[in-house]
């Protein structure tokens, strides 16, 4: 056995290369897929970088996601534990409280429902491409394509006016910025929550055909809870797919052979999207859970109260599960990746995200077969300071 490297003090965030998780995480995975890590508050918890171990923890309801139990793996979010939970923010609840909210929403996000949205997503995508053509190159692909498509779709689904995007895109950016102070995050949450709560009150008087109105009419949740559910879905619905589209396009532009497959072979697109999800793993940090009782994982005994932080990026590159996982190969069987999570909190909107990406990537590449970066690759500003990784901007020509 090689001598163990010193215990990691907090979770590494710096990605040495645009598309790879921090090298430190790969080194740790090679050493031990589950190992001790010191947390920002001095707590002695765990770091999980192996696929099998991460998947087992995500599937195990003996690990809690409740904020009051959490320890932060990074110094920037050390004080957040004491923040009161926004009503209806079910991603931070355990079963059965979580189940109640999720059940009210799952019928809206089924594979069939999302399939029915395809014509509308295509229409939105084509209209963004038309606008890019009209306005001409160069363009920032994030602003003109990657962000508007999922923002428009989630606004229509929820019943949030797209004209208000300035507000929610700004507040989301503050929330996800790991360098925001607790005061800034608190203000952004309050601002966005008040906005959504106001919208819910309006929908109670004048219902429209959308998810927020449906929740009001259902009568099972208070307006406060619906406001919190709306907050969660609005952030989750646009920041994630937007960053997959931006970062995914960047990755394809630097891998022309892979790009050609996505552009030219419609049968390859479904799997290509799974592979991009696996390879890019845009959840930049965590998730973090807390053991509610003593649990053994991968030969390690995690004691009740101890924190575990998973690296989805490191787990998705684990050679035990994905051979040659550090290479982007849109033809590899990529199913089973952990980019949408696993267990009861697995992404509610994942089938929507798939539809959006399956439509948007090939449409973009076919409309602009000569699409290319307008700056050298190393000058593309990366989102290393954000909870969701990606590109801040992607200047392109065609």
């Amino acid at each position: 056995m090689t001598e163990a490297t010193p215990r990691l003090a907090t979770y590494p965030l710096t990605r040495e290369r645009a598309f790879d998780p921090p090298d430190e995480l790969a080194r740790r995975r090679a050493e031990a897929p589950i190992q001790r890590m010191t947390y920002a508050d001095g707590h002695e918890g765990w770091l999980v970088t192996g696929y099998a171990e991460a998947r087992a923890i995500l599937a195990d309801n003996r690990f809690s996601t409740r904020p009051e139990l959490l320890h932060s793996p990074i110094p920037q979010r050390g004080e957040f534990r004491s923040e009161p939970l926004t009503p209806g923010f079910f991603i931070r609840m355990d079963a059965p409280a979580h189940t109640r909210y999720r059940r009210l929403l799952t019928g809206q996000f089924t594979v069939r429902r999302m399939k029915q949205l395809e014509p509308r997503v295509k229409e939105i995508t084509e209209s963004r491409l038309d606008a890019m053509e009209r306005e001409g190159a160069p363009a920032d692909l994030v602003e003109s394509f990657a962000l508007p498509i999922p923002s428009l779709v989630i606004c229509e689904l929820l019943g949030v006016p797209y004209e208000d995007r300035g507000k929610f895109q700004h507040d989301s950016a503050v929330l996800l910025n790991l360098n925001s102070s607790i005061e800034e995050v608190r203000a952004a949450v309050q601002d966005l929550y008040s906005y959504l709560h106001g919208l819910v009150t309006t929908k109670a008087k004048e219902p429209t055909d959308d998810i927020l109105s449906g929740l009001v009419a259902g009568g099972e949740l208070t307006y406060e809870e619906i406001g919190g559910v709306g907050l969660l879905l609005l952030i989750a619905g646009h920041e994630t797919t937007a960053n997959m589209l931006g970062l995914g396009t960047f990755a394809l532009l630097t891998n022309p052979g892979q790009l050609a497959t996505v552009r030219d072979d419609p049968a390859a697109v479904e799997n290509a999207v799974e592979e991009l999800l696996r390879y890019l793993s845009i959840v930049h940090i965590g998730p973090t859970r807390t053991a509610l009782e003593d649990v053994e994982v991968g030969g390690c005994l995690i004691r009740a109260g101890e924190a575990v932080t998973l690296s989805l990026g490191a787990a998705n590159r684990d050679a035990e599960r994905f051979e040659g996982g550090d290479t982007l190969d849109v033809t590899r069987p990529a199913h089973g990746h952990l980019s949408f999570g696993h267990g009861i909190h697995q992404c509610l909107g994942q089938q929507l995200a798939r539809i959006e990406m399956r439509i948007a990537f090939p449409a973009l590449l076919r409309r602009f077969p000569n699409l290319r970066l307008a700056v050298p690759a190393h000058e593309v500003p990366m989102r290393s300071n954000m909870a969701i990784y990606g590109v801040h901007r992607l200047p392109v020509l065609w």
């Binding site: 799952t106 089973g336 697995q346």
Partner: protein, 64 residues
């Protein structure tokens, strides 16, 4: 092979429908799993096994 689905555990992620729509569907009401064919033909066995494996909530199992 007989498929068993626990709708109490199901969280409506839709992975089974995505994997094998000939065998799995989702309730219009709450998105939970609906098994269309609980004893599918042998040629669908690999797909069923993959759906069971991908299910995030452990709601699906098969009896040989």
């Amino acid at each position: 092979m007989k498929i068993k689905a626990d709708t109490g555990r199901c969280i409506g992620a839709g992975m089974c429908v995505l994997t094998l729509p000939r065998v799995f569907d989702q309730s219009e009401d709450d998105g939970t799993v609906v098994v269309l064919d609980a004893e599918p033909p042998a040629d669908l066995e690999p797909g069923v096994k993959r759906a069971v494996q991908l299910c995030p909530s452990g709601a699906l199992s098969v009896e040989e």
